[in-house]
């Protein structure tokens, strides 16, 4: 059998051979994205302020987000009425556990958008507040 004929035979017999290096690479990419990436809910249009702070976000928290239109959301639900009463029911549901409020605010918004959150925290005697930031060294 000539060399050309042998090569042809090998190709015909194992059509999937070229796939294996590709699958190796694709698996490698898959493992990289699974381990290195964090799956987070997308905040539509909220660009977080940059900060050098390295403090981790509290785990048990009430997440308040304010997007560019000024729409306030608590744990993802839009709040159109009074923020204080909305937060009060959520704080009550936690049965007296210390509450941390984290604010996701678009970086270009004026500081006055934080006022309702500050006022609500003061009225509900929530001591700890956090602004979520994007780490930039």
């Amino acid at each position: 059998m000539s060399i050309v004929a042998a090569k042809k035979k090998r190709r015909a017999g194992s059509g999937d051979d070229g796939m294996i290096p590709m699958i190796n690479i694709v698996f490698l990419l898959l493992v990289f994205f699974m381990i290195a990436g964090q799956i987070t809910p997308r905040d539509t249009g909220v660009e977080l302020p940059a900060s050098v702070s390295e403090a981790e976000i509290a785990e048990q928290q009430l997440a308040v987000s304010i997007d560019t239109d000024g729409q306030v959301r608590v744990d993802g639900d839009p709040v159109d009425g009074d923020l204080v009463s909305h937060l009060a029911t959520l704080v009550e549901a936690r049965g007296g556990d210390p509450v941390v409020v984290t604010c996701r605010v678009h970086r270009e918004l004026p500081a006055q958008v934080l006022d309702p959150v500050l006022q609500a925290a003061r009225e509900l005697r929530i001591k700890r507040l956090q602004i979520v930031t994007e780490w930039q060294p």
């Binding site: 999937d16 698996f27 994205f33 302020p49 500050l118 930031t133």
Partner: protein, 132 residues
């Protein structure tokens, strides 16, 4: 017993459905994961407004353009005068109450809070924004 050639045929994994699924998983993780590190900067709420601070509290008012008002004087946030002021406050009792003018971007407020945390001040409170 199976002949060796026959055995190889039985054990062959169908690669095309496998790679289909792997590609779908890969796309999902590529599109849904983010690599930006999310951290936080913590503060407390000031029990009084910045205008009615108690005696032992120091007040910092953040103005537009990266400037602050401390004790009636205007200094830049990154100036040495402000750094000296913060060094002076460090280690002494009393809290720092920060307020921002109502139209200052949140980014500048976070920058100031960063600066205060870097000085290791014991307690930083944030008061409601101030209107002129």
């Amino acid at each position: 017993m199976l002949a060796p050639e026959h055995a190889r045929l039985v054990l062959r994994v169908p690669l095309t459905p496998l790679i289909d699924v792997v590609f779908i998983l890969l796309l999902f993780f590529m599109l849904s994961s983010s690599f930006a590190r999310q951290q936080q900067i913590e503060f407390r709420t000031a029990s009084t407004s910045a205008g009615a601070a108690t005696d032992d509290a120091r007040r910092v008012l953040l103005l537009a353009g990266g400037r602050v008002e401390v004790d009636g004087e205007h200094v830049a946030v990154d100036s040495t005068a402000f750094a000296r002021q913060l060094d002076d406050w460090r280690g002494k009792p009393g809290k720092v109450i920060v307020a921002a003018m109502h139209d200052v971007p949140v980014q500048e407020l976070v920058g100031l809070l960063d600066r205060l945390h870097a000085t290791q001040l014991d307690r930083v409170d944030l008061a409601a924004s101030v209107r002129p």
